[in-house]
Structures are given as C-alpha cells and as structure tokens.
C-alpha cells in the first residue's frame, strides 16, 4: 500500500479571485446577466447624473429668498429658510430652545449609554426618566415654562414623538398579546387572536379615524381629549398587533426542549417566559421587528389625515407659503432624505444588534 505526505495549502489561481474574477462572476456570468448589467448601467446613467446636476451642481445654497434661486437647479435656500418649520412645525419661535434641548438630551443620553461603560442602574434610571423630562420640556405648563399645545408640535419633532412613543409602548403590549395567543386559557387565547387578526385586517388610516372619532365617545362630554394622544393610542394598539405576530414567529423558532428545561428547573410561567423564551424569541425576530418599526416610522405620516402636521405634512405647509410657491420638489426630496437617514440607521443598528446578540457562533 501507500502513504501520502501532507500537502501544504496553496492560494487559489488568479482567475478565481481579485476584482476581475468578481466582475466576471457577478456581472457577466451569463447572457442574461450581461443584459441586466447593461440595463442597470443604462438606468444609472439616465438617472444619477441629472439628479446630481440638479441637486448639487446647479443648486442654490446662498441667499434668503426665492429670488436667490434662478435657473434650473434645486433651491436649497428654501429648506434653509424653513428648517425650523420642518424640524418643529408651529412650535413657537421663542420656545424652540426646548425641543432643541430635548434633541440634545437624546444625543447626550445615547452617547453616555454607548461610550461610558458600566453604571447600568444610572443609565436605566435616566432612560426611564427621559420621557417624563421630554414631556415636561415640550409641553410645559409647569416650572415657569409656558404651555405649548400639542397641536403646535409638528415636523420632525412630531414624527419622532409619534414613532418613538409608538415603538416603545407597542413593544410590551405586543409581547403580552403574543403570550396571550400562546396561552392555554381559551378565553385569553381567543381574545388575543381576535384582536390581532382584527387589527391586522384594518388599514392604519381607519384606526386613526376611529381613534380620532370613536375614542372621544368613551369619555364624558366636555373632556377635550388631546388629538395627539388619540393618534398615539391608535398607533400603539395598531402596531402592537404586528409586534405580537413578529414575536409569535419568534416563539415558533424556540425548540420545545427549552420550555421543558425551564420547567424542569422549577421556573414559573413568567420566569420561564421572561428569562428563557422571550430573550431568544426576540433575538430571532429582531430583523422582522425592526422592519415593523421602520414601516411604523414611515406610517406616522398618515397622521396628516386627522390634522396633525408631521414632517411630510410640513412640505405642503411650507410650499404653500406665498413667498415660496412651487418648492414642493425640494421639500419632498429633503423629507425623503430625512426619512431615509432614520430608517437606514435603524436597519444598520438592527444588523449590529443581531451580530452582537448572536451567541451561536462566536
């Protein structure tokens, strides 16, 4: 017989690596692929250069009125002049330091939580206290701060308030609904199923209308129930149904053995769910959850329908200004860009979170 000596590992041949191989493999591997590559390049050629020309090369940045914008390019002067409206809506001008300091507090808190190690208690306390602080600051009426009605809130501020309140509140409600749907008690189970299926079968606009028209009927006459609060309740309960379905799909990924091991160790129902099942279920469902939250973030613009002025609604408002007629395009592009920044960061964050929580192949 024979004995074979060990072979050293060699590098793959040049044709199988490097940029040329990549192009060949990914862009030119078959006639179809070549056709799509050409089509793609053509689309890019017809759209990107004209947009760059409009948005940057021919654009106007300097000046303070419409007259500064002559010729074909984008008139970013408009955005510059109306920035406060886009960011804060009709929030009184002399009070703008309040939403600004709330934004600054968010950034400071985020940086503190990320870059300062340890101090978990303090961080948690600050995070829990933050909504109270934000509400007192924005709404005022206490501590010598003049009251600013929520009907005056608008723009990015309103969008962020609705989205973050919606996300933060719908999460625990969604978890409870998902647990309810798994419950062995038939009443709780069927109530949860009915709720989830009902809400998922109804468009958000309907929910917003109902929240704005039907909700006040439950309150005694004369109680003027804040419009923003109604929208928040509607959105939260709408979103909770979707969160519940996401988490349920997470439950389905958990092997039965995990429940059994928790039972055998003596964990009670809530301990088992909170310490063993939910962390794993939420982990596998993070991409879906973030997807849900991203669509919630974009759906906030529907509150326009019930008379709230979110970021998107501000385009109409500002472009209807007699001095700035016809600036819709700039407005929409700017707003789209802002939306994109937020949704893109959310999806980046979810990728990072997924990686960090992945204990399976560290």
């Amino acid at each position: 017989m024979a004995v074979y000596p060990p072979q050293p590992a060699k590098e793959p041949p040049l044709t199988a690596r490097g940029p040329i191989a990549w192009i060949r493999h990914n862009l030119l591997s078959s006639p179809y692929n070549i056709a799509f590559t050409i089509l793609g390049l053509a689309i890019l050629y017809w759209t990107v250069p004209p947009f760059i020309k409009w948005a940057i090369i021919d654009a106007h940045f300097a000046g303070d009125s419409k007259s500064a914008c002559t010729g074909g390019g984008a008139c970013w002067v408009f955005i510059k002049e109306k920035l406060d409206m886009f960011l804060f809506g009709f929030y009184p001008h002399d009070q703008l330091w309040r939403p600004k300091s709330v934004f600054a507090a968010v950034l400071a808190l985020g940086a503190f939580a990320k870059f300062v190690p340890g101090l978990h208690r303090l961080k948690l306390t600050l995070i829990v206290l933050f909504p109270v602080f934000a509400y007192l600051m924005l709404h005022g009426g206490h501590f010598g701060l003049p009251l600013v009605e929520t009907s005056k809130w608008g723009g990015l501020l309103l969008t962020l308030v609705i989205a973050s309140v919606g996300i933060v509140l719908s999460f625990p409600i969604g978890i409870l609904l998902a647990l309810g749907r798994q419950s062995k008690l038939p009443i709780i189970k069927s109530l949860s199923v009915f709720y989830i299926e009902f809400v998922r079968g109804v468009p958000l606009i309907t929910v917003l209308f109902m929240a704005s028209v039907v909700l006040p009927l439950f309150f005694p006459e004369g109680v003027n129930f804040d419009k923003l609060a109604r929208a928040l309740i509607g959105i939260t309960f709408f979103e909770a149904a979707y969160v519940a379905e996401n988490i349920r799909s997470g439950f389905q990924a958990i092997p039965k053995g995990q429940y059994e091991a928790a039972d055998a160790l003596g964990l009670g129902y809530w301990q088992k769910m909170a310490l063993v099942i939910l962390p794993q279920a939420i982990k596998v469902t993070i991409p879906n959850l973030v997807g849900t939250f991203i669509s919630l973030f974009k759906d906030t613009s529907l509150v326009m329908i019930i008379g709230l002025f979110d970021l998107l609604a501000m385009v109409n408002v500002t472009a209807n200004d007699r001095d700035w007629l016809g600036m819709d395009t700039e407005g929409y592009v700017f707003v789209a860009f802002i939306f994109w920044i937020f949704t893109f960061s959310m999806s980046m964050y979810s990728k990072r979170l997924e990686k960090r929580l992945d204990t399976n192949n560290k």
């Binding site: 092997p255 053995g257 995990q258 059994e260 091991a261 928790a262 039972d263 055998a264 160790l265 003596g266 964990l267 009670g268 301990q271 310490l275 063993v276 962390p279 794993q280 982990k283 929580l357 204990t359 399976n360 192949n361 560290k362």
Partner: protein, 274 residues
Amino acid sequence: MANETSTQVQETPQATHISKEDPKAVHPLGEPMIQLENVNKWYGDFHVLKNINLEVRKGEIVVVAGPSGSGKSTMIRCINRLEEYQEGSIKVKGIEVNNDVKNLKKVRANVAMVFQHFNLFPHLTILENLTLAPVWVYKKPKKEAIETAMHYLEKVNIADQANKYPNQLSGGQQQRVAIARALCKSPDIMLFDEPTSALDPEMIGEVLDVMVKLAEEGKTMITVTHEMGFARKVADRVIFMDAGQIVEENDPETFFHHPESERLQLFLKQILNH
C-alpha cells in the same frame, strides 16, 4: 472526587473492600423517594402507560431500558410533571404529583432532569445557565449561586469553560454542563432521559463517568439508557419496558445474563447485535 473518597475510606480496610465490590454497601438504601402506583396515561385514545408500579428508594440507581416508543420517556417525565397522567398516583418524597401548584414547586425543587438533547439555554453563558434557577427560583444570593455553580462545574471537569456559550462546547461538554445545571439546586433525585444517545461515540465515556461518580455518591437516579456497561456497573435494578408496560424488573446480573421474559431476550439480542 472518586479517588478522594476511596483514599479516605482506605483507613478501614474492610470498608475499602466493600466499597469496591458494591458501592451500595456504603450508602444503604433508605426511605422511598419515588412511588408510582397504577399509573395510566393516554395520548388521546393511545394507551401509552399501562398500570405502572414502581418504587425507588433513597440512593437507589434504577436503569430503564426498552424499545423505542415503549413509554420510557413518558414515564419519567410524569415524575416531574412534564407530562400529566390520568389515573393512579405518583409521589415524590411523599408529595403527591398533581395539579396543586405548591406540590409541583416542591417536586420540581427535589427532582432534576437531564435531557437527551441537553437543552441548555443558548443565550446564556455556561455559568448563567447554572445560576439561573438558583438565583430566580430558589432566591440564592448571586455570589453563593456562582460558588455552587463553579463547584459543580469543577465536579464535571469543565470549570474552565464557565464563561463560554453552550454552542461553543462539544456535545459531551454540553451534556456535562447540563448535569451540573441539574445538580445546582441540590436535588434529591436525578432523572436522565437517554443522556448519551445524542452524543458522538468518543464523548459518551466522559458523560458516563460523571454519572457513575454521582451514583457512587449515593444520589437517587432513574436513568433511561441503553448503555449496558453503565447499567451493569452501577444499577441496583434494571427495568424493561415494552408497549407502555413494565415487563421485567431484575438486578443487572440476572437482567442481562438470565432474562426471563421472551420480549426482553429478543430485545437484548437486538441491541447486543449492534
């Protein structure tokens, strides 16, 4: 550990002799720990446990064998109520295993289980797997729980892996962690459901060694396994189940070498031919 005990005992030559031949002589059997009386269970119409009677005393090692689907898992899972049964009675240390939540709590505090597929919690480190129940269920101070956990991890020779995640360990290591996790609540009774049958052959030994060590320390154990070497070495009794019934019950020697029932003879022939 095993070496330590034997050196201690060597001071009295007589005891050494006995402990080598028969570890049980050092730990005489005590009061009944588990009592199953006429237990019947159905899955729908399917009669999965038929009139099971079984008593296990303190310190006793019982091995359960039988063909697939004979109800071995179902029987031991009834003892810590992972499964419900419809007729008869099961008592653990005299406590009735039934719907009563208080009883269930006491039973689960006394009975630990090791599964075929380990069932470690993949999102927690080894150490966190071990301290979870002691801290949250049994309200031990965290420091004490960690000390206990490290003690048992050392016992199963895996203390150096304490801060890893389960999926970073081999199957044999994971199963040893699962055993350590089960031990952390100091249970009086250990249930093993085919603890080695999901393992690669070269890892079976390390897990069996740990189990033998536990057996020699006098833990009460019910083990579902087809590891006949293990059964011969430590079992006080071997039980053969078939079609939801206990068919034969004997000491290991008789069980393996002079099986009485035809079904057991056939079964032994089958597993020994493998």
